[in-house]
């Protein structure tokens, strides 16, 4: 943290306000996509947009002109229904075009309500059915180690997704194989606790042997601090960042758990949302 409260990122100094402006611009674009495409999960995307934005802005190695670049880092959105957040960030970094975003949920578009890796540049895995992306990522992490490649893997899972048994199968295997090239970020927005209130996710991940950090998932500073601590060794304890988030973060009308999970704003609601994100 700098003298004036700005965030210091490597050689860059980014005032907090600027970071928020960028992320709120992403949020506004997401709302427009949902209104135009007449479908989509706005609150789920708002919950994770700060995490994805930070990963792409400051951590992931990639080449948007060559999404299959063999030295790239891998980002896997295991909670595929949050994909609007990924789409707008991929557009920002040159994987997608404005035209692609305009085609969201359109018959001739490539972007749907869950990401399709066979169509979308920069999307590594086709997710949507929960509990798959993380398990596949464990295989990818093992495969990269077998090949003596030092690419890093970041996987974003939902806390609701952590109801799936395969998440814990994969967590167990990853720790036993000591996949230190793997980092999981859990979007801990309280969805899981709506159904299963005993929801001590940090304790669960620790019990599975993971290096566990709990942070504010909307704080660029805390995200950076947690990510900076990861050693990313080929053989080592895998790391999980349990990111406390707010579903619908940034717009009071959308925040929390309820009817907004999969709803399209009406004109008056659209106005309220955009004013909150101005």
């Amino acid at each position: 943290m700098g003298d004036r409260g700005e965030v210091i990122l490597g050689n860059r100094v980014v005032p907090p306000k600027e970071e928020w402006q960028i992320h709120n611009a992403y949020r506004r674009r997401i709302v427009d996509m949902v209104c135009e495409g007449k479908d989509g999960h706005i609150p789920s995307a708002f919950s994770i947009i700060d995490i994805i934005a930070v990963l792409y802005q400051y951590y992931l190695k990639f080449d948007a002109k060559n999404p299959a670049w063999e030295k790239r880092d891998y980002f896997i959105l295991s909670k595929g229904h949050g994909c609007l957040a990924l789409y707008v960030v991929l557009k920002e970094h040159g994987f997608l075009t404005e035209n692609d975003l305009n085609g969201f949920c359109q018959p001739d578009g490539i972007l749907g309500e869950h990401p399709d890796a066979t169509k979308v540049p920069g999307v590594e895995l086709s997710t949507g059915s929960l509990g798959h992306g993380f398990s596949m990522a464990v295989g990818m992490a093992l495969g990269l180690r077998i090949q003596n490649r030092n690419n890093r893997l970041f996987v974003l899972v939902g806390d609701g997704e952590c109801h799936e048994g395969t998440v814990w199968e994969a967590a167990n295997v990853a720790n036993n194989l000591q996949l230190g090239n793997l980092c999981v970020v859990v979007d801990w927005n309280g969805s899981a606790a709506q159904l299963m209130p005993r929801d001590d996710l940090p304790a669960k991940w620790k019990a599975f042997g993971w290096e566990t950090h709990v942070i504010d998932g909307h704080s660029v500073t805390e995200l950076r601090q947690a990510l900076d601590r990861i050693a990313f060794k080929s053989v080592g304890t895998p790391t999980v960042i349990v990111a406390k988030t707010i579903k619908g973060k940034g717009v009071p009308l959308l925040e929390g758990h309820g009817t907004w999970h999969h709803r399209i704003p009406k004109p008056d609601e659209y106005k309220i949302i955009m004013e909150a994100l101005a």
């Binding site: 890796a117 066979t118 590594e124 895995l125 086709s126 059915s129 798959h132 398990s135 596949m136 990522a137 464990v138 295989g139 990818m140 992490a141 093992l142 495969g143 990269l144 077998i146 090949q147 490649r149 048994g165 395969t166 199968e169 994969a170 167990n172 295997v173 194989l177």
Partner: protein, 310 residues
């Protein structure tokens, strides 16, 4: 159950192919661990006993394929295929990734272990996944030859390894993915069979001749893609078909053959296969075969019941 020569060949083939191809990685679900030790020793870092979490093992195999490796995932059929079906469908199928699923314990091979360890519908499950090929090698040489030809083809392969091998031998050059093998020429009845029941069909042929039939026996090691040309040529000659298999009718060899010949007129078709029920009786594999009529006597009885000899 006695040691299977096909399962032994599986271990030998992994050793030989793995030694030559550094992309081959083998994952097992706590089975065949000791058999595969030669591979594990010869190919360090490419053998993993993932334990009792089959869906994750399948997903991990797809993940290995995603980064350019050639995965083999192996365990008992119901756990690898039925429990993990969504992982197979999405992680391999939807992603268009290549890999190899190798099962033991198909149908009721593990007869005395009960229905939790049976799998009668594996071809039905996987046969509708785009790009997937289904192999049922009934001998060691068939597994070795088929695996070497397809394991890198970039889509999913299923190899169903039976516990019992048939006793026929083929030249390696005659074992071609998607091609049937004409075992016995005949004129008025085509018996299409797969897996160990080639032996059963061959055993029945003399008594069938005594009853006036001249069976043509066609052996299938590739369920998908099916050898349409050879099957159609035989059927158009004999006008009678009997399919003999250890699988339920729908989605197995039986329904696939029936679909193939549905437009042919003046044709008699029947199938000696498994019914849609759990095999809840105990006893040996042979006892199970006797119970469902997958025997020489069962074939003879079935033919006499189903086919009129005008």
């Amino acid at each position: 159950m006695s040691a299977s020569p096909i399962r032994d060949q599986f271990a030998q083939t992994m050793l030989e192919v793995g030694a030559a191809d550094s992309d081959l990685v083998v994952l097992v679900g706590d089975i065949s661990h000791f058999k595969l030790q030669p591979f594990a020793q010869a190919c360090p870092g490419r053998f993993y006993n993932i334990g009792i979490c089959e869906p994750t093992m399948v997903s991990m195999a797809a993940g290995l394929a995603k980064v350019g490796l050639i995965p083999v995932a192996h365990t008992i059929a119901p756990f690898l295929l039925e429990r993990s079906f969504e992982q197979i469908k999405l992680d391999f199928g939807y992603h268009q990734l290549g890999g190899n699923l190798i099962t033991v314990g198909s149908a009721f091979d593990y007869a005395n272990l009960g229905c939790t360890h049976h799998c009668y519908d594996d071809f039905a499950l996987l046969g509708n996944l785009p790009g997937t090929q289904l192999f049922y090698p009934g001998s060691a040489v068939e597994f070795d030859t088929l695996f070497r030809q397809v394991y890198r083809r970039g889509r999913l392969n299923l190899f169903r390894l039976p516990a019992i091998a048939h006793q026929q031998t083929w030249n390696n050059d005659d074992i071609i993915p998607g091609k049937a093998i004409l075992v016995q020429e005949g004129s008025d009845l085509t018996i299409i069979t797969t897996g160990p029941h080639l032996t059963t069909a061959l055993a029945a042929q003399d008594e069938l001749r005594q009853k006036g039939f001249h069976p043509e026996i066609i052996y299938i090691h590739t369920i998908v893609p099916l050898d349409r040309d050879q099957l159609l040529a035989s059927v158009q000659k004999t006008r009678r078909i009997l399919v003999v298999e250890e699988h339920v009718f729908h989605g197995g060899l039986s329904s696939r053959v029936l679909e193939l010949v549905r437009g042919i007129r003046d044709l008699q078709f029947s199938s000696l296969c498994l019914s849609n029920e759990f095999a809840t009786h105990y006893g040996s594999y042979e006892d199970q075969c006797r119970r469902v009529g997958l025997t020489k006597e069962g074939i003879l009885r079935h033919v006499l019941e189903k086919f009129s000899k005008n």
